[in-house]
Amino acid sequence: MDAKDILGLSKTSHPASQEKKSRTVKESQRKPDGISREVYALIGGVPPLMPAVEPLQLKKRPPTDEKITWQWLPFTSSARKDNLQLFHWVRVVNGVPPMGDYSFAKYNKSVDVVKYTDEEYEKHLTDDMWTKEETDQLFELCQQFDLRFIVIADRFPSSRTVEELKERYYKVSRSILIARAAASPGDVSEHPIVKEPYKFTQERDRKRALSMVLSQTKHQERKDSEVLAEAKRIAESRMAARNAKESELPITFNVERAIVPGETLSPSSNSEFPSAMVAPSTSMAENTSTLASLRMLRVYLRTYALDQMIQAASSSAGLRTIKRVEQSLQELGVNLKPRVPTKSVCAQHLELRKEILTLLNLQKQLQYKEAEGSSYRDSPYETPGTPKDRTFVPESTSFGGERVGKRDQKRKAPGRAEAPSSPAQPKRPRKLRASDM
């Protein structure tokens, strides 16, 4: 409505009747009694669905036909031994006071502290550390204070630690119980004191440890948690390693099979296996460890074996070197994966790969040497020789074999006095190209 006024729009027809309607509607909305308009609007502006509890109902009193009076009456408690009579208010219903014991008497629990006679003491309970008087005192205090040893220790005439008192008490109780059980029929072994004897040293250490933990500084706490986390991690990694080892090692110790081969197998395999896990440094070690792991398998495919050997042989080489080896293989016209992987073919293939690796290493070495050579000479290095000499003309068949003659001529002999034409080394060693030969 206001918006329309602002906009200057004409009001719709029957504005009068509308206003009346709105007014009546508003009237009905202003209806609530008891709560203000705003609050009424807050709860939805409509009467609540549930009838509210009438405040009048809240303080209803029970419709009693009984007559209740309160009387000041004396009482006794079974918990007391002295028959002291005290007074208190009692709710009397129809003139009848309540029966029964004092309602709090049932809470008067106490511990059954063992009571020994002097004979029993002589027979079972003598101890070097404890005199009879002390023991008697101890037991009296135990009885008095319901085995609250902290209090007992405090009250004890001579200074004894809580653990010592406890030990003495429990030892005595145990001995008495056992002795009495031996005398009269009865099984005491289920009694808690007999079943679980008190351990003095254990308790002492436990309490000491507890107090240490309690008094730890925050710094110490942090350190401890770090160490624990580290230990957990190490344990888990060890478990994982052990599991991996176990899953790789097939169970050769089959009971049905003869034990003898198994025995001769296990020492050699156990010694070789750890080497298989750790990266071996020499190629010989790699070879033998791969062989050992293959032998563990009991059956495998030749291609799988070849892959393993190749991996072992190139474990020291980077990814780029491996790619260069593969490229060289392709240039030489050899399949990366032999098409007919017989034993000899695989062996030759492996040897070829190793030789290519050697070749690449030598080439790198040569380049370094040549670079050194140029640094020895003080003359400024010449521009690299015409790259045309070394450009690569890809030929799938010949590995530069037929061009050997030509290349030798064009290539600068290494013995010449001028700096060889490769001092400006590109950061990456050049790929092995057919025309390099």
């Binding site: 010989m284 007919v340 992987p341 040897e351």
Partner: protein
């Protein structure tokens, strides 16, 4: 295999020399103990001998031509056969082919040679082949994987119902430590390559095999599809490898010469500059 020189390799006959240190042979092959029970001998394993079984596995697929419909356009056979078409049943007990899950009963078990499976379909997928061996051979199965190929590599050519698409792979199953029983049994079997036994090793005579004519033929020499089988020969690869190695060795020698030359030069320069 220990030494990297190639002179030790003579072909599949060479028994594999194993282990890092040459352990005394008496420890390895506990032979000739007459007091041992026969059973025990048969379960012993020989360590210097490896048995290999050359196999070829793959598929042959025929286009069905007119009879093809949307869901069955090709009839294909996936198989594992001996490389020389000999009977693999002496070694393999059964083969399990795991097909694509859209096939009915995708796990197909073949209990006797020839180990093959034929089906009709339209799709290419990877088939997992699990080979189970006889109990005296090996108690662990071996897995192979073959990608089923139905459509020819070059899509230009028309598909013919007469000429199938053939994809085969050669491989060898190697048993590095065969039991003596196994060795004895397959000594004279053509499907298995048994190396020359090292000196001093004597095998008990092979257990007499049942009359071969009674059993169903398990070899694939006269297989209906044998005309499409590829003949895998190692000669060509060996030749190429030998040539390649020769070349690489020459270059290695050359590099080595050059390096020593340069080192000689450096030394000269050094001695000159010291003065």
């Amino acid at each position: 295999m220990n030494n990297s020189s190639s002179s030790t390799m003579h072909g599949p006959d060479q028994p594999e020399i194993s282990g890092p240190a040459p352990a005394p042979k008496s420890l390895r092959t506990k032979m000739g103990k007459p007091e041992d029970s026969e059973k025990k001998i048969f379960h012993k394993k020989l360590k210097d001998v490896e048995i290999s079984v050359p196999i070829v596995y793959g598929n042959i697929a025929f286009w069905l031509g007119k009879k093809a419909n949307e869901y069955q356009s090709h009839k294909w056979t996936v198989y594992v056969r001996g490389a020389t078409n000999e009977d693999l049943g002496v070694v393999i007990k059964r083969a399990v082919f795991q097909l694509h899950s859209s096939f009915n009963n995708p796990t197909r078990v073949v209990e006797s040679p020839p180990f093959e499976l034929s089906e009709c379909g339209w799709g290419e997928f990877e088939i997992a082949i699990t080979l189970f061996f006889h109990s005296d051979v090996c108690d662990k199965p071996l897995n192979l994987f073959h990608h089923l190929k139905l459509y020819p590599a070059d899509e230009s050519g028309p598909m013919s119902t007469k000429k199938p698409v053939v994809v085969e792979s050669y491989d060898e199953i190697v048993f590095p430590e065969p039991s003596e029983a196994f060795l004895a049994r397959v000594q004279n079997q053509p499907a298995v390559v048994v190396p020359r036994l090292p000196a001093g090793v004597a095998l008990p005579p092979p257990v007499p095999v049942e009359d071969p004519s009674n059993r169903k033929r398990g070899d694939t020499k006269d297989h209906p599809l044998c005309q499409w089988f590829t003949n895998f020969s190692e000669a060509d690869e060996l030749l190429r490898l030998a040539t390649a190695r020769q070349q690489v060795q020459t270059h290695i020698a050359k590099f080595r010469r050059e390096i020593t030359l340069i080192e000689g030069q450096h030394q000269q320069v050094n001695s000159v500059s010291d003065q």
